[in-house]
Amino acid sequence: MILTVESIKPALALACPLIAALLILLSNRRPNLRESWTLIAGLFQFAIILSMAPMILRAQTIEYTLLTGMLPGINFGFKVDAFGLMFAMTSSFLWIIVSIFSIGYMRALQEHAQTRYYFCFALAIFGAVGVALSGNLITMYVFYEILTISTYPLVVHEESPEALFAGRKYLAYLLTSGVFLLAAIALDYSVSGTTDFNPGGHLTLASASRPFLMILFLLFLLGFMKAAYIPCHSWLPTAMVAPTPVSALLHAVAVVKAGVFGIVRIVCYVYGTDTMGELGLGVMLASFAAVTMIGASLFAIAQDNLKKRLAYSTISQLSYIIFGVALLSPMGVTGAMIHIPLHGFMKITLFLCAGSILVASGKKNISEMAGIGRRMPVTMFAFTVGAFGMCGMPATAGFISKWFLGLGALQNGNLIFLAVLLISSLLDVVYFFPIVYTAFFGNAEGMDSNWKGSKRIKEAPLFMIIPLSITALFSIIFYFPNPVSEALLHMANLALSH
């Protein structure tokens, strides 16, 4: 039995980045003050979100209503359950990490329009945490669109023609998907009279005809294009023109995870696993995800640009999550849910490493990185941890989620799905291992010569090294039994209990 508690904490957690955004605008001319606002807000937000965890672990949900009766039967308000809290915790914790990294990155490269950058970053976190804490689809939609709009200036930050093109593509994909989402929400509301998230869902076969429900699901799927499944994925690699911290937080955690988060919400909390199974949508979705998992890995092998390869890897990994819920088995869903934070930590490590390589050596392509591991040992060691995690090797966090996904596939009883999972893991090794190999064992001669008057390449500033070491450390810690990972697993189990 889940108890509901009224608490203002969700609203406070959201107020932090919003207030920070305003303060950032006001302290336009004072960089130190501006960046400390970001950090303070991040710490506060994380503290508030963390303080909700004990209640959630006691199997309670936290509700807070801002506007009552926005539409009949719908309040504009928040409802924090275990799943939402997991996502919110991940986003807000990684915001702090990435903010520290950003300070080093933006200052080292002397980027322009830094105020705009931090402002939009705070707004984006506002959107992402809002998505995580929303109690119903319409509230979620509001934050989902704020997230889209606020990340646009970050994508086009460079303001080059290439960046502008990427920005247009980004908006074209994501706002079109927003339109589909709005249509889906309106239809859902018209048949069920509610859009609340309930474990077990509010749509049943009695709500509407089968074809209607299937089309509605398709609309929802199109609506969450942020999940970057094939064939709606191409905005993500294009968006990699953004500064690396943006790619790290937004295109490995906040934005894309908001999409996947939405799909999980739809499957488990709007349709419910039972209805999904009866409609046969689970198999359909799982096949969809399987195609993306393998297809994106194949694309990734062909990329030489490190960030693009990571982007395709993200596409593939996101589909693990979709795949997990599509299995509709308890283990699969658990695996999917814990893959959200775990993948977040591992992928952000990889992106931060890519960023620090860029700052320290100016290199973007993998082929130029031969031997860089000897010049930047800390960075490349962290990268290796992240990469091994992606492949699901034991002793890294990635192993846990893959383990659960594998169990889920077995529970589902479909061995083909297990095979897909294994093949895809193998492909992960194929595209990650060469990077690690060239970095440590490649020929480092001549790599210093074409860099800043042939100065010897060194590690990136501490502002960048520390954050990526922390995330790499976490990627390992999660594997070993400890209170944090147990709490995570407990939450994932709670998320589906009625």
């Binding site: 506007l67 303001e159 706002l175 079109t176 249509a183 509301y189």
Partner: protein
Amino acid sequence: MTGFVEHLPILTIVIPLFSAFTILVAGWFNKKSCIFIFWLTLTAQFIMSFIILRRVLIHGPIHYWLGGWKPPWGIELVVDSLNAYILIILLFLSLACAIYSKSNIEHELPGKRVSFYTLFQLLIAGLCGVTLTGDIFNMFVFIEIFSISAYALIAARGKIALKASFTYLILGSIGTCFFILGIGCLYSVTGSLNIHDLSLLLPPFYGNKVVKAAFVFFIVGLSIKMALFPFHTWLPDAHAFAPAEISAMLSGIMIEISTYAFIRVSFSVFTLEFLKLLPVFDILCWVAVAAILMGSVMAITQVNLKRMLAYSSVANMGYIMLAVGISLSAVESPWGGLNPALMHIANHALMKGCLFLAAGAFIYKANLWHITEFRGLARKMPYTCAAFVLAAISMIGIPPSAGFVSKLYIILASIEIKNYFFVAVLLISSLLNLVYFWRVIETMYMKHEEGGHSSHGSHGMREEIPLGMLIPILLLSSLCIVMGIVWLGKIPIPILDQVNLMFGLGKVP
């Protein structure tokens, strides 16, 4: 005290009329005094409109008999929740435009200040008159008063504006001619001109061909005035080349007042039973759909910012008329009846007012008309550009802006009548809005001035507009967002519910 409130409707019309002539006379002696008389009048009117609304909400409609003559012989002013609501929107936008106009007119029409304010005041008097009157012929006279002032105001900039004004004059006159033709037909059948009286006398004649013809004349006449799709040809030029605050008034409220007249004629004169006899409103929906698509597509092809905004107005009139069209069939719910239409009238007034004033600011500061010239503008005019972005976001319908709420309500109403085609059109049009607004935003923020790439990182020269112009723009743009939350909180919904109740709309059939 209540006795005084009873007189407020006529005062709202008479005071600006007198003020218009006072401005003219005072302008002979002291040119600077005009603007203050104008502001004072508008502020007084604005306060009065709130008192009227409060009175109407508490005690029901105000009936004011001019000269004490009893209707249907005398002229009557009737204020119910519908026109009290419209009046507030009208006067609020007028006030914003009035504040804006001080600096802008000194710059844009230096020698014509006195006549400008006289005409502006007459325009507002005419608009208030249309809103408040309870007599249909009186409505025609006020329509002509605001139209004639508008013709002159549009032409104020000279050159191409003259041609635009002339085209509008011809089409507008034909529109009002159709309107009096409709009045004539109704008069020949009933012998009455009072709106309330007509609604009582007409029902026995609903089968009469003359009555049906009268309704069609009203529709055609008012469609021209409100620039509904096939009759929109006068609008883009007229709205593009008028002075900024007049463009804002034209797009923000004048065409909406014609929509108000249409709602008044359809629901107060003809009542619901008549509308259910004819499939006019169904046809209207499809015309509105055409207007939405056509207006949006044409807006994409424009290079002149104000013309683009003008075409966007054509599309938005489509939204409003679509909402009016489906009002008959939508059932009891917050989006039932006329709610989405009236909601979008308010929201469109805010958004379009803000956009046109911002466009005027670009012209004021750097004589920029074309979208391609806006490179790097965000660095020079950060506040104006930010306001433009907020209003544009609202136009596109990104939550939680005002535009989002009206879009959501129209979509929910369309779903209610099981017309998924309308839903698709509304969604597509919001994407089209995105295309043409984002092009502007991208140029303003992300592209640099040619040869000015060196300003990378530095802030360049700030060239913001005077505070008097900036405040209304910022006020309107912040309201674009705030109103979204206010609507979601359903604060003004009781007013709209009264309107539905009055017209018998939004009930479970």
